[in-house]
Amino acid sequence: MPVATTSTEQPELFKRRSPIAETWENLRRSWSGMLGITLIVIHLIIALTSPFLIPQDPLEMNSKISNQAPSYEHLLGTDKLGRDVFSRSMVGGRVTIVVTILATMIAVSWGGLAGILFGFLGGRADEVFMRIVDAFLSIPWLLILLLIVSIMGTEMWVQILTFGFTYGVSTIRIARAATLDHVTSDFILAARARGEHKKTIVLKELLPIVLDVILVDGAMNWSWMLLGFTSLSFLGFGVAPPTPDWGSMIAKSRETLAIQPWTVFGPVIMLSTLIIGINLFADAFAKALGLDRSQGAPV
């Protein structure tokens, strides 16, 4: 390397990368992370394009060909009403994915902001609020979901809002804990001394610091929401028939598990690959951001 460098060349050492680029670089090095991202992207593409690309009409019933084994025409065979399992498995994720992605965004937003706010405010309000949050999180998750769905109904927009609200509660704790780490820092004190509005402190000082924790939690939230949504769907509290949906497909096809296992395994494989993809990504993402995560049981 030449000793004399012109003043316009920056030595390697001091080249600054944005944190986003750095995270992406770290992520690229993890094969499990890239596998996770690939799976997620494949699923998103399938969800968006499948209605136009599937070989058969997922709703078309034909009892003459019910419960057939896989064939060239029906790649995974047919179910008990003669519908093509492959096509149904491909489109079965659309409602699930749309609802869970939108609900996750809502959950992360409201949970993250509430957590930061109360972590920052502290005092009585924080104590009371956290007691209520703890109580809420102590109710068995299935019960809460079932109650809420029974009350609010199974309309898609309603489900997006209710899932978003319910799963946001667990984000509150994470965001608050991360905020508490920084709330006594000097730069916050300085901001307060400068007379900045509380809103500004929350949004401009605390949020950027806590963002990575919230994002990782968001990824996990999506995974848990998929669990919850498909479980409800499995139990019959989800999407109304005849719209194909992975959860209800698995539930309804259990009776033919012995003679035509693909009616069950089609949606199972689709759902499993998505969930595993998200988890692989979340793990690698956390590592790429430099976060140490201990796995907790799902809420």
């Binding site: 102590s138 019960l143 079932l146 498909t230 199972v268 595993i276 049981a297």
Partner: protein, 317 residues
């Protein structure tokens, strides 16, 4: 120390109190009320009103909440609407069935998880760890009903070792439950092991790299003694917390496994109560399950405090 225990206890009670509030008013929000649920859709307004008077449903919600709470404390869970019998009777047998299932699963799951977790931690990144961790990730991330269905496929259908669905009544004696209970136990154990073993593995790895273990190695302590007398006890401490969390998950997750196998437990009862809109039953089950969850967490908290004196300094709440 006693103040700490008393404080945790009081906190648990406050939490249960808040939950009772959420549960009661959550169920209140369900469309319809006890009268419509009892008499059905075609009841006349007069009979609905008469029933409301009789059940005291016309009183303001807060008054009814206080009455319900008072009854609860006395041990009176009320009467179920759809089945027209006392809630306590309905819950009794099913509760026993679920407890049998859960305790059996937990008794298998914890030792197996510890064993596999230790093996995985000690053989980190080699074949035993890779296989164990892979299976654990699958069991941990997939929904319970997916795990249950796959297990049903292999054990009940392909191998034909166990029945796929339970066909017995809820008040059958435990002996009749046995063949039906095996596959649900296997499923629950599998899921719980998957959750617990990951943490045991992580703790094991951390402990084996700690200075404490390095010192033992330098002293010339044999590998076996290091694992059993030094590493294992240290790794176990945080495990109490995850075991409690997993049992907490169990409180909700067991319902799904019960639904898959049609097992006559409290989970399936809860599902039926919700689709029947049987309010007293829903409220009773909700408060019982939540209290159990809080109770388990309290015990885990106190156990951790007892076993780790460093945590005993009050954190000035």
């Amino acid at each position: 120390m006693i103040t700490l225990i008393a404080r945790r206890f009081a906190l648990a009670l406050v939490t249960i109190f808040i939950i009772s509030f959420i549960v009661f008013f959550g169920v209140e929000a369900l469309p319809g009320d006890a009268a419509t649920a009892y008499l059905g859709q075609f009841a006349t307004p007069e009979s609905l009103n008469a029933l409301r008077e009789k059940f005291g449903l016309n009183a303001p919600p807060l008054v009814r909440y206080v009455n319900w709470l008072g009854d609860l404390v006395k041990g009176d869970l009320g009467d179920s609407l759809s089945r027209k019998e006392s809630v306590a009777e309905l819950i009794g047998n099913r509760f026993r069935n679920t407890v049998v299932l859960s305790i059996a699963a937990a008794l298998f799951a914890v030792p197996i998880a510890i064993l596999l977790g230790v093996i995985a931690g000690l053989t980190r990144d080699k074949w035993p760890d890779i296989i164990i961790s892979l299976v654990a990730i699958i069991g941990m991330t997939l929904p319970g009903f997916v795990n249950a269905t796959v297990l049903v496929y292999f054990f009940a259908i392909k191998l034909n070792w166990f029945p796929a669905v339970t066909l017995i009544a809820s008040d059958a004696p435990v002996s009749k439950l046995l063949p039906n209970i095996v596959l649900p136990i296997i499923t629950l154990t599998f899921i719980m092991v998957a959750h617990i073993l990951r943490l045991v593995r992580t703790n094991m790895i951390d402990v084996m790299m700690s200075e404490y273990v390095q010192m033992a190695r330098l002293k010339g302590v044999s590998a076996i003694r290091i694992v059993f007398s030094h590493a294992l006890p240290s790794a176990m401490l945080p495990t109490i917390n995850i075991v409690a969390l997993t049992i907490g998950w169990l409180v909700g997750g067991v319902a799904i496994v019960e639904a898959v196998f049609n097992y006559p437990g409290i989970g399936t009862l809860m599902l039926r109560a919700i689709s029947d809109k049987d309010f007293p039953l829903i409220q009773a089950i909700a408060i019982i399950l939540s209290s159990i969850f809080i109770g388990i967490n309290l015990v885990a908290d106190l156990l951790t405090l007892m076993l780790n004196p460093r945590l005993r300094t009050a954190r000035g709440h």
